[in-house]
């Protein structure tokens, strides 16, 4: 993975010092809250329902064990609210039915970042200094700027990959970091990159999606997609270029973002993303971008044309780690386990949580952070430390945060799998559920987020509790279940095979359910938003609805047919009817407890 240069290290320290100056001015009253807000956002600091949230960047998902240890320390020492803040949160959420609000943990987000929910704002500058000691920061993890770039979690190791996207992602990270012209765009701007046959980075759902490929002449370049996004207007990105030579990528993105900065709507926050501009302008948008690009090349001097030497300088960081290369001289077969009783559980783990690797003697292993007792993607301080330990022992110190809110170890020797399995199991992160129903994606929702219309975590917990039987989970096969607490779609409900969206109506929590969404993976098919199956359901009904949908699948499926394929073949109707049949509250019009979740009237930071 990328190793910071002296320049990178100094830069992050300078950024932390700049942030401390801003925080100090805010706390002493010389920088107003309104003015401080976008500045703290661009360092990852949101203010949530009860306390600030910090989003730490893991560039394209890569994180080192020493960084995980610093995140553990932040969870332990800083993710601790004052007694007053915590008491208020617990009391208020208890009225909604939330029994427990954990503190002292990190949360893996769908954009491969790590979030903390309880750090007092007056400690935020200390946290930035601590992060900087481990080459970490929150730069552009929020705000109306170019956000942290995301990547295929199997980048550089997937057998179906043509070109490793990580060097390009790193080059894009550097280019976009504190870009002077693009820090106050109309809205946020998200870029995702893949270099594999399968799109595991949901590129069509991003403001810009990049596919690395080779053209007929064998040259490397990008297919450039633009204008994808979720929110109120789910939109699949359009193709802007079928092939852009790799060395022009920064010049080309400069053109795209400049056109967006100049012409994107700023009169209505809900229409400010680039997807709206692309839809409204169509070919005119493409012409503007191409015209701007051509002027950058012919007139401005194309300062950001990438030389081979720069690609080579960065790419050298992304080779197989030296310790793994040495170990590869050894055997390449999986050592059989001794104890017979554990064998089926181990086989299940191998089948679900272990992926093939470019190198035949290596495997990619996903540690499942989807287990009862913790919100999806949450890791306590002790678990972050333990994950660091596993990364060190089994993966040359490298780990990745996945879009699905788990942690992947990219460099595991096949012969180490039995030992890794036992240690992961002892840690509680070896549930063999990767890709299955309980590997669900969930946003923090109304327990933590000021924007949410409804809670997500209790719903995830209820669904996981109902589907604890592994035989049943394996029988159901792969299902993407995604939960968002509001239309901002942080839980990616649009891409769920089953999508659940929290909505606010009459001051109560309701959930709209959609079917058949796709992130663009091989399993799910071409990217498409799911379709809503009728009026919203009450919270008490949702788990029954999920069960009804899955029972319908089991009743109608053909041999070997996945849930998503059944939905595509059968259409929504049988599922809609089954879901409707389990309505209770929403059938009788009986109202449950009237508790309003005071959600902020704004769009997400």
């Amino acid at each position: 993975m990328y190793q910071y240069t002296d320049f990178d290290r100094q830069f992050v320290r300078e950024r932390a010092a700049q942030y401390r100056d801003q925080l100090t001015r805010n706390l002493n009253g010389t920088l107003s809250d309104d003015e401080f807000r976008p500045l703290r956002l661009q360092n990852g600091w949101y203010v949530q329902r009860y306390a600030p949230m910090l989003r730490v960047a893991a560039p394209y998902g890569e994180i080192h064990s020493r960084q995980l240890r610093v995140l553990a320390r932040i969870a332990r020492e800083f993710d601790q609210p004052s007694a007053e803040v915590y008491a208020n949160a617990v009391t208020t959420q208890a009225k909604l039915g939330t029994k427990h609000l954990p503190v002292g943990y990190g949360h893996f987000s769908t954009r491969q970042n790590v979030q903390f929910n309880w750090i007092p704002l007056d400690k935020s500058a200390d946290v930035m200094d601590l992060l900087a000691t481990a080459d970490l920061h929150g730069i552009q993890t929020s705000g109306n700027c170019i956000r942290n770039i995301t990547c295929d979690a199997l980048a550089g190791i997937a057998p179906d990959e043509t070109i490793d996207p990580r060097p390009y992602a790193e080059i894009l990270r550097q280019w976009s970091t504190l870009h002077p012209e693009f820090a106050f765009l109309p809205r946020k701007f998200k870029i995702a990159i893949t270099g594999a046959a399968e799109d595991r980075a949901a590129t069509a759902w991003h403001d810009v999606g990049l596919h690395l490929l080779r053209n007929g002449a064998g040259e490397v370049g990008f297919k450039v997609l633009v204008g994808g996004g979720m929110g109120r207007t789910p939109t699949i990105a359009s193709t802007l270029r079928d092939f852009l030579p790799w060395h022009q990528i920064l010049n080309y993105l400069e053109a795209v973002v400049r056109v967006y900065n100049r012409f994107g709507r700023r009169d209505n926050l809900y229409k400010a993303r680039i997807k709206i501009l692309v839809k409204a302008e169509g070919q005119h948008f493409i012409d503007e971008v191409e015209n701007e690009f051509s002027k950058i090349l012919t007139h401005d001097g194309a300062a950001h044309t990438l030389p081979e030497s720069e690609l080579a300088r960065v790419a050298v960081h992304f080779q197989v780690p030296a310790s793994i290369q040495q170990a590869l001289a050894g055997v390449s077969t999986v050592t059989p386990l001794g104890s017979g009783a554990d064998q089926p559980a181990y086989q299940r783990w191998l089948a679900q949580n272990v992926r093939a690797h470019k190198h035949p003697a290596l495997r990619a292993v996903t540690l499942s952070f989807k287990r009862l007792g913790h919100a999806p993607g949450d890791a306590t301080a002790a678990q972050l430390d333990a994950a660091a330990e596993l990364a060190e022992r089994f993966s040359a110190g490298e780990a990745r945060i996945t879009h699905e809110q788990n942690v992947l170890l990219p460099w595991v020797l096949a012969r180490d799998l039995p030992t890794l399995w036992q240690q992961a199991r002892a840690l509680g992160v070896a549930q063999p559920n990767i890709g299955l129903l309980t590997d669900l994606i969930t946003c923090p929702g109304g327990d933590l987020c000021a924007l949410a219309n409804a809670r997500s975590i209790p719903l995830a917990e209820a669904i996981m509790r109902r589907y604890q039987d592994l035989d049943e989970l394996f029988d159901l096969g792969p299902v993407d279940l995604h939960i968002s607490g509001c239309m901002n779609s942080c839980g990616h409900h649009h891409t769920g095979h089953i999508g659940i969206l929290g909505v606010d109506k009459d001051g109560r929590e309701w959930y709209q359910i959609s079917l058949g969404g796709s992130d663009g993976s091989l399993l799910s098919g071409a990217a498409v938003p799911g379709k809503v199956i009728g009026p919203s359901f009450a919270a008490s009904e949702v788990t029954d609805v999920v069960e009804a949908l899955l029972d319908t699948y089991r009743a109608y499926r053909r041999p070997g047919e996945t849930y998503i394929d059944s939905v595509r073949r059968l259409g929504l109707e049988p599922f809609r009817l089954a879901a409707h049949a389990v309505r209770q509250e929403t059938r009788d019009g009986v109202n449950a407890e009237q508790v309003q979740l005071a959600s902020a009237e704004t769009v997400s930071d």
């Binding site: 950024r15 109306n144 002077p180 700023r266 950001h304 030389p307």
Partner: protein, 132 residues
Amino acid sequence: MKTLELIPADADATAATHRQVIQIANDVDPGTLTLDGVDRIDLNFPKFTDGRAFSQAYLLRRRIGFTGDIRATGDVLVDQLLQMQRSGFNSAVLRADQRLCHAQRQLSHFASFYQGDANHPPTLFTSEGASV
């Protein structure tokens, strides 16, 4: 690196009046302007969160080659001065409530940057910094 000239709010009115100054809104295409004889272009930030003038300044400086004064006016936040300097502005009018000392400090937080800019087109990777 050229340093942005910081102009206190109350000093603006006393600026040399003989100069040829044009003021343009932030949705104007800089390519459509007639700049013969113009000494100064005032770009406007109606709200500090509206970043269109950054692109206008860049285009005026780098694309159009305007060599006169490009001035930031309106809701200028001191924390944006460094971005203004890097985007091609060379002066900025501070709001009445903003302190010069705070403003000056904002220009000195960073030794250098990754990407090229209007003032300094070479990137880190084309200059010596890349070898470190």
